[in-house]
Amino acid sequence: MNLNVLLIEDFPHPVEKVWRALTDRDALRVWLMENDFEPRVGKRFILRGKQVFPQWRGWIECEVLELETPHRMIWSWVHSDGDPPTRVEFRLDPIPEGTRLTLSHTGEIDPLIGSRLREGWPGKLADLRANLSRPALKHAGAAKI
């Protein structure tokens, strides 16, 4: 079954600033997840969830596949052991108002792990909501659900 997510968001900030937020370890920690990211092709890194859920090991294995500063970055994304990698692409385009981010997350979902993931994600999203509503979350400012 195909995974096919495409999101387009405009930000009132210059491309370089948005690019920094996508490729800086500390920034990624604030808006995405705990990580050991480095902006170079071939870098394997881990995105770590706050806790391990019964149906999920608690981290995502990624690798930087393509990097074209400051416009395009592609990661492979493996959610669970034995999953076929999915693909996350960030693209930045300058627009008069600032920057357009095009994010796509695509891949073939292995049917055998599908049910496991279906069990795992509701917990993950609950955790996400809890984090977003926690006022102490540093830097996240007015993040709302």
Binding site: M1, V5, L7, F11, L112, L132, A140
Partner: protein
């Protein structure tokens, strides 16, 4: 076995996906479905059985015919996969926006 697992197993097979595509257009008797495949009637029948057990299709008898129809609720569950990742990224991009707005 979890019903969810059955669903993903059921849709993994190309012929079964083709059957679902055909039924998406309208209800069909098993003979007519089988007639549109190069594989044997028995094989088509077996694929329909798997789909039925996964709750993806319903069947009813009309006279001597067995009519198959799509059970869209189950398919919607599969769609959730993409929906969940979409929500995940939407939430994360909101955080990205806040992060950027707070940065000097």
């Amino acid at each position: 076995m979890q019903p969810g697992g059955d669903v993903f197993h059921a849709i993994a097979e190309p012929n079964r996906r083709k059957l679902l595509d055909m039924l998406a257009v309208g209800d069909l008797p098993v003979q007519e479905l089988a007639g549109r495949f190069d594989i044997s009637f028995a094989a088509v029948s077996q694929h329909l059985k798997v789909l039925h057990e996964a709750g993806l299709v319903k069947r009813r008898a009309e006279g001597r015919q067995r009519i198959y129809s799509l059970a869209p609720m189950r398919l919607r569950e599969i769609d959730d996969w993409t929906a969940r990742y979409r929500r995940f990224w939407q939430d994360r991009l909101k955080r990205l926006r806040s992060y950027l707005d707070d940065e000097q």
